[in-house]
Structure formats: structure tokens, C-alpha cells
């Protein structure tokens, strides 16, 4: 018999509804697991045990009263600490917000609660989601559950590690340049970056507004679909959220891949890739062909400009988005007699190196005299990148690619040179620039036993096809069922 913490979201919710298990029992099990593994893992920045047990008790009472508490009935979940939770500290893994307790829920938080989920705590990430390894967190180190010497990926490292380590059944991350897909790949779990506008950004601490998107992380594709179903849809409080109706994602899962046309972007198989990663991805492509899909080569010719484009647009938006952390109304303030000195000292003390670097890059890119050459040019290139995908997805139903060029790297391995770290997002970043959905599913392990991720990229608002391909692949393989050492 497997432990309660091993249950899928679907199974756990079904048992709560059937009263086979109570939400309080599930929550206690999750909290016990957290207590056991956290000292070594460090996925959580805040464990909200009392709040979680109170919420679980309320769910149980509703079940007892004959009510249906929703599709995530009583299931313990974790939330990236960049997503606001009413009454629970939300830090963005930054010293500047270390003591910030929001008086409001992000829309996604509210929707998870409405669907019956129990929030057990807040998960570590790179400061303000800026990073690919969670090493930029100012508030703690998160380790990869498969190897404590390695990073969990980032920026949603805590969200992926906690799900892989069975501390919660699913979690939310945010993905601005790969921040859900990369840690999901590094930790051997499933992560989805939805289409820009599919999920509300209200209450999600902004890094780069035109790229940020909240996405679910879970242990299989069906759970991922279930969580997406709960959070997707128009939000009147986010003008960039789409009014398009949300389809039934569960219904897409068992349609198989027969007849689907999958594209293999030639620019995504590059010199210097870890051979085992390329082999695993090519193996997965063959598997999909065996399942009835046809595969064809495609080209995304502007791929080489994606990193530069991203680091102009994202940093420009970040430089503006992070201006509100000024020590005036909330967050860290270093008192100084003059206003200017107070601003300077508070922000100097509150932000980490990478955040400062990106604020400076973005400020420069928007400056008078440079705007046209940098920000405006980057927006034009962004349009070209979007067109690349439109063209490729005009002849294919989805694209298949690696998530990252290697498996999880060691702590400190890439922190010396920020550019090396930036290049790690090479396969994920274009998807954000194009606003498309991207799914990361486990597709193998390297020789040292580290997970490898397969990336599926879809048309705008066509999460269904990605989930459908992912579910078919998962049904034919058992990579997702492997669990990290206890």
C-alpha cells in the first residue's frame, strides 16, 4: 500500500469525496512528509500548517454535509512564493519582501481554494523569478530531490522539488522564460506553461508582465490537466487574460496521437547538448511515431535571437515592475534622513545581485536614445519569433523538443558567469516570447540517474493537444512513475 503522499491529485480528491480518507489526514501526511524532508530539501519558504489544517477541516465538514468541495477536494498543494496568498507571507524569495503578508489572494490562489485544494505552504524560487536554478533565492537553498548536490532548476525550483519529493500532490509555479518547464524537467515531474492570457496574473508578483504565466506542476499529465482546469479562464481583474472559453482538459487526455503531425525544430538540437538528453528526446519522438503520430522537421530560424530579445524585453519590464519596492508603503526600509538615500539604501539592501543586474539592464534598454535600438528592436524581433512558430505550427499540431540542453547541474556551476545561466533557457524562452503553451514531461534519465524532460510546444490556446500527446506518451512509458530516493 502506498503512502497518502504518493496519491495522485485525482485519487486523493476521489477518496476525500468518498470519505475514504479525510482532507485532514491527507494534510497531516503532507505536513509530516514536509517535516521529514525539508531540513535536507529546502523546497518551502513558509509552511502554513495551522492554516492548512483549518482549511482541510472545513473541506471535511463540507463533505460530511453532503457537499462537493470541488475537483481538488481536500488535496494538499504548494504555491510558488511569488503568488500572493491572503494572510500567508509572500516573499518572492527576496529580502525586500521578507516580511510581506498580502491582504489578498492571487486569482489562482483563490481558484485553487475554490476547487477545494488545501494550501500547505509557499515554495522557494529564484528572487522575483529571475534565474534558472533557484540559487538566486535570497531566503534559502532548494536541493534537487534526485541528487542533493544539484540544483532543482528554476525559477520555480521549490514547486518542482516539493512535488517530486511528495511534500504536496501538485503545485503552482510561474514561467517567464522556462521557469515551470525547466525545474519540472530537472526534478522529473510534469510542468505546463499555459498560453499567455489563459491563466490570470492578478496577484502574481510581476517579473516581466508580457511574458509571465502561472502554470501547474504535478506528477503526471492528468493531474496537470486537473490543476490547469481549476486555474484557467478569464479574470476581470487581469485585462490580459483571455475571454476564450476553457475546454475540458480531461476530455483531451485519452484521444491518442494517431494522425497527429509533430514537428521537430532543427534549431533545438544543437552542438554541445548532453548526448543522453538528445538520445532521450529522440527516443521519445520515436515512441510517439510508434503510437501513430507523424514527425516532420521544421525550422524556427530566429531562434538564435531569442535570448537577446528576451533579456531586453524581460529586463525592461522588470525594471519598471520592481520600482514599487521603494521602502515607502511595505517591504524592507532602511531609514535614512533623505528620501534619495532611503531609496538607495533600501533597494541596495533588499535586492540581490541578479535582480539588480536585470533592473540595470532594463533601465538602460528603456533609456532615452537607446529605446529604439533596444526595446523597440526587441519587440520587432519578438514578432519574427512569433511568426516562426505560426509558420511551423501551420503544418504541425505540436512541436517536440528538449526542455534544456543538459540535466540538472551542480550548485555554483553556472553562477560565476550569468551568460552561461541565461543560455540555459535557450529551448524554453522562445515559447514565452511567442506566448504559446509548453509542456514538460519526463522522458528518461541520464547515466547518473538525473531526469530528462521532453518539451511539447503547441498552438495558441491549444493546451489540449499538448496534454493529449503528453498523456499518450506517459501511458506508453513509465518514466513519470519513477520516484526520487527517499
Amino acid at each position: 500500500m502506498s503512502a497518502l503522499t504518493d496519491l495522485s491529485v485525482r485519487e486523493a480528491a476521489a477518496r476525500v469525496r468518498r470519505r475514504d480518507v479525510s482532507s485532514v489526514e491527507l494534510t497531516r501526511a503532507a505536513l509530516a512528509r514536509i517535516a521529514a524532508v525539508e531540513p535536507a530539501l529546502g523546497a518551502f519558504l513558509t509552511v502554513a500548517g495551522a492554516e492548512a489544517l483549518a482549511a482541510a477541516g472545513a473541506i471535511d465538514r463540507r463533505v460530511a454535509a453532503g457537499e462537493d468541495p470541488g475537483p481538488l477536494a481536500g488535496v494538499p498543494v504548494g504555491i510558488k512564493d511569488i503568488i500572493c496568498t491572503n494572510g500567508i507571507r509572500t516573499t518572492a524569495a527576496s529580502r525586500i519582501l521578507q516580511k510581506f503578508v498580502p491582504p489578498y489572494d492571487a486569482t489562482v490562489t483563490a481558484r485553487l481554494k475554490d476547487a477545494g485544494a488545501v494550501v500547505v505552504g509557499k515554495l522557494n524560487c529564484d528572487e522575483f523569478a529571475m534565474g534558472s536554478s533557484t540559487e538566486n533565492s535570497a531566503l534559502g537553498t532548494t536541493r534537487n530531490p534526485w541528487d542533493p548536490d544539484r540544483v532543482p532548476g528554476g525559477s520555480s525550483g521549490g514547486s518542482a522539488a516539493a512535488v517530486a519529493a511528495r511534500e504536496c500532490h501538485a503545485s503552482l509555479g510561474t514561467d517567464t522564460g522556462g521557469s515551470v518547464r525547466l525545474p519540472a524537467a530537472f526534478c522529473g515531474v510534469v510542468g505546463l506553461k499555459p498560453t499567455y492570457g489563459r491563466v490570470s496574473r492578478y496577484g502574481v508578483i510581476a517579473y516581466a508582465s508580457s511574458l509571465d504565466q502561472v502554470g501547474p506542476i504535478a506528477r503526471d499529465v492528468a493531474d496537470t490537466a486537473l490543476v490547469l482546469q481549476a486555474i484557467a479562464g478569464n479574470d476581470p481583474r487581469d485585462s490580459t487574460s483571455s475571454p476564450r472559453p476553457v475546454p475540458s482538459y480531461a476530455a483531451a487526455l485519452d484521444r491518442g496521437v494517431r494522425g497527429l503531425r509533430l514537428g521537430l525544430p532543427r534549431e533545438y538540437f544543437v552542438e554541445g547538448m548532453q548526448p543522453e538528453v538528445e538520445a532521450a528526446v529522440r527516443g521519445a519522438v520515436q515512441q510517439l511515431e510508434r503510437l501513430g503520430a507523424t514527425v516532420q522537421p521544421v525550422s524556427l530560424p530566429h531562434t538564435e535571437y531569442a535570448i537577446a530579445t528576451y533579456y531586453l524585453i524581460a529586463t525592461a519590464e522588470a525594471s519598471s515592475n520592481l520600482a514599487r519596492y521603494d521602502g515607502i508603503r511595505y517591504g524592507l526600509r532602511v531609514s535614512e534622513p533623505s528620501l534619495r538615500a532611503m531609496y538607495q539604501r533600501s533597494r541596495a539592501a533588499g535586492f540581490g545581485t541578479e535582480v539588480k543586474r536585470r533592473i540595470m539592464l532594463g533601465t538602460y534598454a528603456l533609456s532615452a536614445g537607446y529605446y529604439d535600438a533596444y526595446y523597440l528592436k526587441a519587440q520587432q524581433v519578438r514578432t519574427l519569433i512569433r511568426r516562426d512558430f505560426e509558420q511551423a505550427l501551420g503544418t504541425c499540431d505540436a512541436l517536440v523538443a528538449p526542455v534544456a540542453p543538459t540535466t540538472a547541474f551542480r550548485f555554483g556551476e553556472k553562477t560565476a558567469d550569468p551568460l552561461t545561466m541565461y543560455l540555459f533557457d535557450i529551448f524554453t524562452i522562445s515559447v514565452n516570447l511567442a506566448g504559446l503553451p509548453g509542456l514538460s514531461v519526463p522522458c528518461g534519465f541520464d547515466q547518473t540517474g538525473l531526469p530528462i524532460g521532453l518539451q511539447l510546444i503547441g498552438r495558441s490556446f491549444d493546451e489540449e493537444t499538448l496534454l493529449r500527446v503528453g498523456a499518450a506518451y506517459e501511458a506508453a512509458t513509465d518514466w513519470h512513475a519513477k520516484r526520487p530516493p527517499a
Binding site: 518572492a92 498580502p102 496577484g203 485585462s239 519590464e317 525594471s319 519598471s320 520600482a323 515607502i328
Partner: protein, 484 residues
């Protein structure tokens, strides 16, 4: 206008706070004057993760303003972020419009000393107001009140088309009048709901390029704007005549010392790093909406002024005074509709009534909250004067008695026995008595001192306790004085 061979060039930037119930990007109340930090929410406080949602009503108000000033309404416009640090700016940027404003290329016609002049409008755009810093009230600490944060503003930018202080004043008054007619801004400069910055430069007459521009801020009344511009014209003209170099800068008007003082030189100008606001989609306005708003526009002051001249036979001056404010024009027309002769009604409104309003500050937010007497009462009163039932002085004296009562003036005249004495027989005796009592003055009058007649009329009026018909008294006096 040129003085000493120097021409002045003036452009004005107006910030008009809009009278929407809610703020521009959240649903907090936009009302003025609540206790500090009570009309606030996570959005207008710039809390982490919150997003702006555009209030549709603000867009409608902007379209109204644009149509009333003959602007083109852009089918697609775009909000932009203006980035700078200041404690009253919670997000560290102001959501404004930059490259793609909602209204462009309009104009308005103003009257300057009775002469029409057309002044171009460069653009109108929507933006959010900031909070308010409060200094010195709490020892060393400065406090910030965010009630005003996110209150909707229209920024209305004129072309540099004005050449005199009078033109600038006329433009400003006309613009405010239009916004009030549109019921989108109360136009109160003292409370800051209608703010004006002036760009002033001078150049040798006949020059085709502009001189060095100076921006003048911190004027909180029409008089202050006019004085500040006049001061700048004098200062700059003087500099130009003495061959001094003017610098592009921002200067603040000091109302106490009546001078402008340099605030910052443009060389150190802030770089606002404008870029399109990614949290809001481009604003698409369909022609159908524009047409609907156009159809709903009220009669505007210029049209109403012309109609008052045409329909009510008023002088251009009276028509202008009456139509500058919609509430005043409405009051006048209500009186005419109740039967008052237009010319008399106009006289009473522009003199007695508006003086009471001014003296007793009966208007708040530049809308008259409570008229001294109703338009219908005034119409009756004016009619009684017109008919000769009472004289003007009696009518004026009745005003305080009518206030707040709703009483019919005719009934009051009856009850207090104030009807004018126009009975020749009764007045003949009073006139004779006055002549008998004041031989010295009578002598002077007969000696050619015409103005003494006024004194004698006054004595008769006094004897009649104000009720005598003054025209008749004068007539009878002249007749009797001529006789003897």
C-alpha cells in the same frame, strides 16, 4: 501681440480630474476629501502582483472631451508607463499615454475682448493621478495620502497658439466651461481638480522659430496663471532685450512674492523611460461608440451663447457671462421659461444673484449647491418690477425675505404692503412737502446743480418708506420745481 518688437508664445497643459464615481484602474471611490487613505485598495496602493483594469467611463469622458474640442478620436490608442520615483507614486510609474493618445488635433474657439480666436489642441490623453505627500504636520515624518492615487485625469495639451495673457485666460476659461458643460470635471483650480502648467517663450517679432521655452507650474487660480504668465513675459522680454541667454527650465510660481523661481534646469531632466503598458491591451474604440457619445453631447457654451443672443435678445456680453457656467445658464433659462422678461432676468442673475453666490460662497466644486432663491421666484420678482408693482430697491430688499422660504414674491408684497405707490395724488403731496422742507437744495437745483435732484428724490423715497415709484417721483419733482 508684440511689445517692443517682442512676441510672446504661450501653450497650456491642463490636468482635469474627472468626475467618475470610481478611479481609473480600480473600483475605489474617486471622491475628493475622504479621511486619508480610506479610498484605497491593493491596486491604487501599488501592492505586489496587482493589475490595472480600465474604467470604461473614463474612456467615455475622454471621448466626450475630444469630440467637444473637435479632436480626432483614435480607433486604437495605448497606455504607457512613465517611470520615476516619488513617494506619492505607489508603483514607481504612472500609467499615462505617450505615443498613442486617445484624442489628437482638435481646436477651440475663444472670445478675447469680444474677438474670436481659434486655439489648436495637440492632444488629450488619460492618466492616473498620484497620491499626495503631506509634510510638516507630524514633526520630522512626511506622510502620504493615497486617496487621490489612481483618480482619473485628462491631460489636455494646447498648441503654442496663444500670444497674450488675455488669450491664455480666455482659453483656460473656455476649456473649463466646456468640461463643466460635459459634466466630466468640476473645474476647481483651488482644490486642484483643474490644474494648469504654462509653457512661455518670447521671440523677436516676425521670427519663425520658437524662443527658449520655460515651463511654469504651481498656479492654483486663474488669476495666478495670468499673473505668472505676465511675470514670465516681462522677465523673458527683459532678458531678450538685454541680450541675456534664456535657459530651458521649469519655474515655480510663488503666489506670495508674485514671482517665478527656477525649479530645475532641463539639462538634468528626468528620463521617464516611457514604454507601452504591458498590463493593459491596446484600447480599441469602435466608431459606433464615438457616434453614440457624439449624439449624447449637450449644447456647448459657444452654441448656447449664440442662441441666447438670437433667442433672448441678450447682448453678446451678457450672453457670455450667463453661458460660461451651465448651472447659471440653466437657472437663467428656467426663469425665462417661468415668464420673466429675458433682459431683466439676465440683469438680475448677472448682478444680484451671482454677487450673492460669490459673497456667500454658495457654490462648491463650482456648482451652485443652493440658489439664493429659485429661478421661478426670481422670475416672479422680475415680473413685478417690470409691471411697476414694486421698484428695484424693494425687490432687492425682498431677496433676504424670500430666501429659503419658497414663498411667492407677489404674495409677500401683498402681505407686507410693499406695493409701489404710483398714485400721482398721494405722491404730489409728498413731493410738495420735500420741496418745502429743503429750500437750500431747491435753490441750488434752480441754480443749475442738476445732481441735487437725486437728493430730493431720495427724500421722497424715504418719506414713502421706499415704496414710491422712483421714475414717477422724479417726474413730479421736475414738474413742481419748474413751476415755482
Amino acid at each position: 501681440m508684440t511689445t517692443n518688437g517682442i512676441e510672446t508664445v504661450i501653450g497650456l497643459e491642463v490636468h482635469a480630474e474627472l468626475l467618475t464615481h470610481a478611479k481609473i484602474f480600480c473600483s475605489c471611490s474617486a471622491a475628493f476629501g475622504g479621511p486619508p487613505n480610506t479610498d484605497v485598495c491593493p491596486v491604487c496602493l501599488g501592492m505586489p502582483g496587482v493589475l490595472p483594469v480600465l474604467n470604461r467611463r473614463v474612456v467615455e469622458f475622454a471621448i466626450r472631451a475630444g469630440l467637444a474640442t473637435h479632436c480626432t478620436i483614435a480607433p486604437v490608442s495605448r497606455f504607457a508607463r512613465k517611470n520615476y520615483f516619488y513617494p506619492d507614486l505607489p508603483k514607481g510609474y504612472q500609467i499615462s499615454m505617450y505615443e498613442a493618445p486617445i484624442c489628437t488635433a482638435g481646436w477651440l474657439d475663444v472670445l478675447v475682448d469680444g474677438e474670436p480666436k481659434r486655439i489648436g489642441l495637440t492632444r488629450i490623453h488619460m492618466e492616473e493621478d498620484t497620491g499626495k505627500n503631506i509634510h510638516d504636520a507630524h514633526g520630522d515624518a512626511s506622510l502620504v495620502d493615497f486617496n487621490r492615487s489612481c483618480v482619473p485625469l485628462l491631460e489636455i495639451v494646447s498648441e503654442p497658439d496663444m500670444r497674450t495673457v488675455a488669450e491664455a485666460g480666455a482659453y483656460l476659461r473656455t476649456l473649463r466651461s466646456i468640461l463643466q458643460y460635459l459634466e466630466i470635471c468640476d473645474g476647481n483650480m483651488e482644490e486642484g481638480s483643474f490644474r494648469c502648467d504654462a509653457n512661455v517663450s518670447v521671440r523677436p517679432a516676425g521670427a519663425t522659430t520658437f524662443g527658449t521655452k520655460v515651463e511654469v507650474k504651481n498656479m492654483n487660480s486663474f488669476r495666478a496663471v495670468e499673473k505668472a504668465i505676465a511675470y514670465e513675459i516681462a522677465r523673458q522680454s527683459d532678458a531678450l532685450q538685454h541680450g541675456e541667454r534664456l535657459v530651458q527650465e521649469t519655474r515655480l510660481w510663488d503666489a506670495d512674492r508674485e514671482e517665478t523661481r527656477s525649479m530645475r534646469k532641463k539639462e538634468y531632466a528626468d528620463d521617464y523611460r516611457y514604454f507601452p503598458e504591458p498590463d493593459l491591451l491596446p484600447l480599441v474604440i469602435e466608431q459606433k461608440w464615438v457616434d453614440e457619445v457624439r449624439a449624447s453631447l449637450p449644447e456647448l457654451p459657444a452654441a448656447r451663447r449664440e442662441r441666447f443672443v438670437r433667442e433672448h435678445g441678450l447682448s453678446a456680453y451678457d450672453a457670455d457671462v450667463l453661458t460660461q457656467r451651465k448651472d447659471v445658464a440653466d437657472y437663467f433659462e428656467a426663469g425665462v421659461a417661468a415668464g420673466a422678461p429675458a433682459k431683466e432676468m439676465a440683469n438680475w442673475v448677472t448682478t444680484e444673484i451671482l454677487r450673492l453666490v460669490r459673497d456667500e460662497k454658495l457654490d462648491r466644486a463650482l456648482v451652485i449647491q443652493e440658489w439664493p432663491i429659485t429661478a421661478a421666484q426670481l422670475a416672479r420678482l422680475v415680473t413685478l418690477v417690470q409691471q411697476g408693482t414694486i421698484n428695484r430697491n424693494t425687490a432687492k430688499a425682498l431677496l433676504p425675505k424670500l430666501r429659503g422660504t419658497g414663498r411667492d414674491p407677489a404674495e409677500l408684497v401683498q402681505a407686507e404692503g410693499l406695493a409701489q405707490v404710483s398714485d400721482r395724488g398721494a405722491l404730489e403731496q409728498a413731493v410738495a412737502d420735500v420741496i418745502a422742507k429743503h429750500p437750500a437744495q431747491v435753490e441750488q437745483f434752480r441754480g443749475g446743480k442738476e445732481q441735487v435732484l437725486g437728493f430730493l428724490v431720495g427724500q421722497v423715497m424715504k418719506a414713502s418708506r421706499g415704496k414710491a415709484n422712483p421714475q414717477l417721483v422724479q417726474e413730479l419733482l421736475r414738474a413742481q420745481l419748474a413751476k415755482a
